[in-house]
Amino acid sequence: MLYTVNASPTSSRSLETLLRIAAAGDPILLLEDGVHAARAGAATERLAREALAAHPVYALGPDLRARAINMIVEGINVIGYDGFVELVEKHTVVPWV
C-alpha cells in the first residue's frame, strides 16, 4: 500500500492517524500541504521521524519548492512527478485525505 498525505500536520491529524494504521514498510508520500511534515526544525519533525522509523517516506519536490521548504528532515526522499508515477505503478494507492 502507498499512502498519500495531502494535509498539513499542523492543521490536520492525518499523518498522525495514518501512522497508527499503516503496516511497517508501507511507503508514505507527502504531497500538496502534506509536504509541511517534511520541514526540518519544526515541532512536527518528531512526527516525521516517527514515520521514518517504520516507513520509506517520500515528499513531492514541486510542492516543497512552492512552499519554500528548503530544509528537509533527514531520510525523507524528495521525488518529482516521474517518481510519483513510479510509486503509483508499483503500489495500490490509499489517499489519506
Binding site: 498539513s8 499542523t10 492543521s11 509541511h36 520541514r39 519544526a42 519548492r65 512552499r67 519554500a68
Partner: protein, 119 residues
C-alpha cells in the same frame, strides 16, 4: 469612525484557495480606503514566507503579493509568535514587516476590528 477590517489568514498557501482569495479580497477591500489589518495565525504564517517557487504548479508566489499592499495603504501586519515558533520560523523568514504578536496581542488586535474576514 471608519470600519477597521481584519483579514485573518490561517491556511497554508497552494493546498487550498483560501490564501490566494484572501489576498484578492484584501486588494479589493483596500480600494474602499478602509482601515485594514492582516493577521497570520496557524498555517497562515506560511503565506508570507520568503522563497516560494510555485512555478512548477503554474502559480505565482503569494508571498510576492504582500509587500506591494503598502501601495494601497495596507501596512498593518501581525504574525502569531507561537505559530511561527512551532514551525521553526522567525519573522526574518517573512516577506512582510510584521509585528510578532503574542496570543493575547492577536486577540486584542481582532477585538479592535469591526469585522474579521477569515481566509
Amino acid at each position: 469612525m471608519s470600519a477597521r477590517v481584519a483579514f485573518l489568514m490561517r491556511h497554508s498557501p497552494y493546498g487550498t484557495v483560501y490564501p490566494a482569495e484572501g489576498l484578492r479580497a484584501i486588494m479589493g477591500t483596500a480600494v474602499f480606503e478602509m482601515d485594514i489589518v492582516v493577521v497570520f495565525v496557524d498555517d497562515g504564517v506560511f503565506v508570507p514566507l520568503k522563497g516560494q517557487r510555485p512555478g512548477e504548479l503554474d502559480m505565482k508566489s503569494l508571498a510576492d503579493g504582500f509587500p506591494g499592499l503598502a501601495d494601497v495603504g495596507v501596512k498593518d501586519f501581525y504574525v502569531h509568535e507561537e505559530s511561527l515558533a512551532e514551525r521553526g520560523l522567525a519573522a526574518s523568514d517573512l516577506a512582510v514587516n510584521a509585528e510578532v504578536a503574542s496570543s493575547a496581542r492577536i486577540a486584542e488586535v481582532l477585538a479592535g476590528c469591526s469585522t474579521v474576514l477569515p481566509f
